[in-house]
Amino acid sequence: MTLNWEGLDISILGPACVAGLIVLSTHVPLGKQVLSRGIIFIDLAIAQIAGLGVILAQYLGIDEHGYAVQIAAAAAALAGAGLLSWTDRRWPEYQEPLIGTLFVLAATGGLLLLANNPQGGEHLKDLLVGQILWVSYPQLIPAALLSVVLLGFMWLRRGRLAGLVFYGLFALAITASVQLVGVYLVFASLIVPALATAGMRGRGRLTAAYVIGALGYVLGLVLSAVLDLPSGALIVWTLAGCALLAQLVPAVRRSHPAHDAPEAVFDTVA
């Protein structure tokens, strides 16, 4: 494999890098909550519901460009979040399977609606597979403003987000980030830094998670330029790589709780 130095250009990688950091700013603290609630696939479900909202909006004849689409996506995501917050109160023990069911319903519901709207398919893809390299600075301004508002809100509530507030914030953050960087990177940004620092507590955990996330994005972008590989996919791998390497740092690893012996799947002894 030949190394490719011409892609290593700050004006090419810069906007993508800033987009990654904006996404990380909200997703690292949200990811901590997602992990502790054990509902890791909620981002896929919310993104899919936002996509369904866009298809529905087109179906009803709303213009496919501009803010109307964003409002439709956010409204659908918030409605989905409301539904999930209600099921969380009503059947907390079934929240994860309900999220999964909602995900497949939203995805296939989109296909059913598109059967009569032949041009909608491309827009569904546009919404779900944002490509981090196509991001431009002007596009980042609304996302950055939204992140500041969301972070300010989390700070005011001192990180304690319950029920509807958590689901609502989460829906808005995901709807914005999926369009910027795509669903794979959103999932990785949420889960990987939070997972890598699962054993730590307090402010140190947040800092470590941010460092892992930022290193993952920067390393991924640089390597994708040098190795000439698709950026989004490679960043997912460098995020995971940074998370693994972080386990070599005693402070990250130290406070992992000792695991009990795994439970037997089949109770053969008894």
Partner: protein
């Protein structure tokens, strides 16, 4: 005075000759245009090709090198007519290269050079996957490639006048070989005239138009949306009752739908290269049409043997 004369002379020589030494850089969106640029310009230009035959040109994975290549390009050669609408506008915007912006001399759209088929008279969403400019898949018609070659050659000469004579000579050479090949293909493909085909997606109209073949159905009339059961059952009936030659798919497409229909109708499924690099034989535009016609003739022989 003499002391300065030699360096000045060398400097002047370097300045004058540097445009000729710095090769023009061309970015081609698809392999067929990369191959055509190679035919017309040879080693006078450096060509980068953005997509391969084994990927769907409607979507690409964004790599930093693509942006860098477009940034450095003096000329971008693409199909146009909305074929690359999902990524080319973003790529050009991110490159910030005004030389290749839409409408600039460095932007060459092949589909704008020829008459397009399936141009809708009225834009109506009910008609399915409508490209407002017409069907963009012109690379499968040698007659249109002939027209595109002439326009592309003029553009190369306009942007790189120092090599204009070389481009003109190469065009004349290409035209001679291309017209001879077209005559050969036409003769070989005579048994295919009037035969009927079912396609995976409607990207072959120009090939059928050239060969005088009829497309009687499509497996995936709307891209990205699975076909309905009613559509499939009527497609089976149409395929069976029309003495269909083959079910045609491109090298980059999933093999399952065409195999499914082939199993139910006994009509052979044929994978055509679709563009340069689509199979081992399709090393250039000539090889691509050689292989396409050979494979269609192969299907007609295997059909006759049954």
């Amino acid at each position: 005075m003499k002391l300065f004369a030699i360096p000045t002379l060398l400097l002047t020589a370097a300045l004058v000759s540097s445009p000729a030494q710095a090769k023009m850089k061309v970015f081609a969106c698809e392999p067929e245009w990369g191959s055509l640029v190679h035919e017309l310009a040879g080693d006078k230009v450096d060509v980068n090709v953005g997509t391969s035959a084994l990927q769907d040109v409607h979507v690409i994975e964004a790599k930093p090198s693509l942006i860098a290549q477009v940034r450095a390009a003096d000329l971008v050669v693409c199909t146009g007519a909305e074929l690359e609408v999902g990524w080319l506008p973003m790529l050009i915007r991110q490159s910030g290269n005004a030389k290749v912006a839409p409408g600039a001399p460095g932007s060459f759209m092949a589909a704008s050079q020829v008459k397009l088929l399936e141009k809708p008279t009225a834009l109506d969403r009910a008609n399915g996957d409508v490209h407002p400019d017409g069907n963009p898949h012109i690379n499968l018609d040698p007659r249109r490639i002939y027209v595109v070659a002439k326009a592309l050659d003029a553009r190369l000469a306009q942007l790189d006048p120092a090599n204009a004579a070389a481009y003109q000579q190469r065009l004349a050479d290409f035209n001679t070989r291309w017209l001879a090949a077209m005559n050969k293909w036409k003769a070989e493909a005579a048994p295919l005239r009037g035969r009927k085909v079912v396609v995976h997606h409607i990207s072959w109209v120009y090939l059928w138009d050239w060969l005088g073949m009829d497309q009687i159905g499509a497996l995936e009339p709307k891209p990205g949306v699975p076909p309905t059961a009613a559509h499939m059952s009527s497609l089976i009936a149409t395929t069976k009752s029309n003495n269909t030659l083959a079910i045609v798919r491109a090298a980059y497409q999933d093999t399952k739908p065409a195999d499914w229909l082939s199993d139910r109708t006994g009509v052979p499924a044929v994978t055509l290269p679709y563009t340069v690099g689509g199979d081992a034989q399709s090393k250039d535009l000539f090889g691509m049409f050689d292989s396409t016609i050979a494979k269609l003739l192969g299907a007609s022989q295997s059909g006759a043997a049954k």
